[in-house]
């Protein structure tokens, strides 16, 4: 983090170019990203991203917590898709423990992950359009996002920091009206996507601002570590949900939208198509929802039901043990990656056989995707920088951690 310095440390030519400081309070940087731009008239000559303003040392904090206490920290990494972060961490620890998760928990996890993806994409679409001057789309997107947040509140008790997925399954059985609410949302949502598309997809101003802007080739994307919709917009047909399935994604049928143009418009089309695919997955999960428990049968890892604690001695003992001294995880290391709305979200968890992780590292997609921003903007117009930032959909919380 170079916020102590007012100019970039490298030399520049003062008679021809000027240094422009963008952020960290600029509304179009989607958080606290600071960009040092060297501009020659309207052209960007050089760009230095400056990050770290939100660094809270979450990785260090994880090492001082029990395994189950890390789950709420994962919410706060990427505050736009908390459930997917919970999921990745839980899957990593479950892999270390070699835990088997019941089918109903897996299906509900898939359903909520896809709702999270929709909520995250809606924030992206709304703010991205707002950056480019289209105010209406923002209001439409936040209307549906609000409904998803109400569903989250209904199921997890929290709108944003849900911590609903726990090691070994779900925190609680979903409430009775949960699946009905999700179904209601899934029925109305496709027409709402038509409304967003009606505002933007063939809007001449939108197309003028996005087509051919901030181009990224597939080779550059792979070399710079870009993942997710940003890479699929450049023609790389790879989605972890389909290609390396986890938590039961192999049981669902969906398309992976890919565009080959590699510009802002292509990334927009990929994400909007993903909205439709995600709601399709939610519907499939509702239709084929298995019956059964929502927690694994592992009394030393999963907290017992409150009812059992009042009647069974062992349940009370296990509860006391888990809360006071955690549970030991066999030594080893795993890397678990899932497809987050922004790309490959990976958790590298190292256990030394105790109740606290030796190391939790989060491979956040925004952190890697940000490296491609320079490639997209050099030699282009200053006004297109805003479009480029919006199109890679960064969340500074997960960049700085």
């Amino acid at each position: 983090m170079g916020h102590m310095n007012y100019v970039a440390s490298a030399e520049f030519t003062p008679d021809k170019t000027m240094i422009l400081n963008m952020g960290p309070q600029h509304p179009s940087t989607h958080g606290v990203l600071r960009l040092l731009l060297e501009i020659d008239g309207e052209r960007v000559v050089r760009m230095v991203p400056d990050i770290g303003f939100l660094h809270t040392g979450i990785e260090k904090t994880c090492e001082a917590k029990f395994y189950q206490q890390v789950v709420p920290l994962t919410d706060r990494i990427d505050y736009l898709c908390p459930m997917i972060n919970n999921l990745t961490y839980c899957l990593a620890v479950e892999k270390l423990l070699q835990l088997e998760i019941p089918a109903k928990a897996q299906w509900t996890r898939v359903m909520l992950s896809e709702l999270t993806r929709i909520a995250s994409h809606l924030v992206w679409l709304g703010t991205h359009a707002l950056d480019m001057g289209a105010m209406t789309a923002f209001l439409y997107c936040f209307r549906e996002r609000e409904e998803i947040l109400r569903i989250f509140e209904n199921v997890a008790g929290q709108r944003m920091m849900t911590s609903y997925f726990r090691i070994g399954g779900l925190a609680l059985e979903p409430p009775l009206d949960f699946y009905d609410r999700v179904r209601k949302f899934a029925t109305i949502f496709p027409e709402r996507v038509d409304e967003y598309e009606g505002l933007l997809t063939s809007n001449p101003i939108w197309k003028e601002r996005t087509i051919g802007v901030a181009h990224l080739s597939a080779d550059d994307g792979i070399a710079l570590g870009v993942t997710g919709p940003s890479l699929r917009g450049s023609g790389v047909d790879f989605d972890l949900r389909r290609d390396m399935p986890y938590t039961g994604y192999e049981n669902f049928k969906f398309n992976v939208p890919v565009r080959t143009e590699g510009d802002v418009y292509a990334r927009y089309l990929v994400r909007v198509a993903e909205l439709r695919e995600s709601i399709g997955i939610v519907k499939q999960a509702l239709d084929s929802l298995p019956e059964g428990p929502v927690k694994a049968d592992a009394p030393k890892v999963v907290l017992p039901d409150r009812e059992k604690m009042k009647t069974q001695m062992e349940a009370l003992i296990y509860h006391f043990k888990i809360v006071t001294e955690g549970f030991a995880v066999p030594a080893g290391e795993v890397y678990q990656a899932v497809e987050s709305p922004r790309g490959e979200m990976g958790y590298y968890v190292v256990s030394d056989g105790t109740a606290k992780p030796l190391r939790v590292h989060m491979r956040s997609p925004s952190y890697a995707n940000l490296q491609a921003l320079e490639k997209m903007c050099i030699g282009k117009l200053l006004a297109d920088v805003v479009a480029a930032i919006g199109s890679i959909d960064i969340v500074l919380g997960e960049i700085d951690r």
Binding site: I51, I222, A337, E344, G346, Q371
Partner: protein, 164 residues
């Protein structure tokens, strides 16, 4: 424990030879491969520190994507730092983890930036938080902490609440 079984670990290099990542490395330079381990379905290959950049450029033909570079601090045991390079093959849909063990008094590794430019931020983060230096990195400066910060917070001998 009811649902947990002890994970099966294979450490015999010959038994793991069929894995494309290990096959490519052994065909290139067997002495670069220190050991290999299949644990919970994930393949880890320990590479000699002096060969890591070459190993990456050899394996890049199949494992085209560098997903992550990270490191765990095993202080006070030596070698203290265990770097992990998580590689992904879009074609084979497989992952492999290349590992390099580095001693605490000499935490220097060759940068893989010339092979994958994406290593830029990952290596800067490791330099910032764990104090590992990467030879050949074009811009090895702090990235998350302030530039005048002292110490490397993710090291195990750095207290969680910091120095006050």
């Amino acid at each position: 424990m009811a649902a947990t079984s002890h994970p099966q670990v294979i450490t015999d290099v010959e038994a793991l030879r069929a894995y494309p990542a290990l096959e490519a490395l052994l065909a290139w330079k067997p002495e670069a491969v220190q050991s290999a381990k299949l644990d919970r379905g994930e393949l880890s290959v320990y590479i000699d520190r002096s060969y890591i950049r070459e190993a990456c450029s050899v394996i890049k033909a199949k494992f085209n994507f560098l997903a992550d570079v990270t490191c765990a601090d095993f202080h006070p045991t030596e070698p203290r730092f265990h770097l992990a390079y998580h590689l992904l093959s879009h074609e084979l849909k497989q992952r492999v983890r290349l590992k390099v063990a580095v001693a605490g008094d000499d935490p220097v590794v060759e940068s893989v930036f010339p092979v994958w430019p994406s290593a830029n931020f990952f290596e800067r983060e490791l330099y910032d938080l764990l104090g590992i230096r990467f030879l050949g990195h074009p811009n090895l400066r702090r990235i998350l902490m302030p530039e005048d910060w002292e110490g490397h917070p993710l090291r195990k001998d750095y207290p969680v609440e910091g120095y006050r």
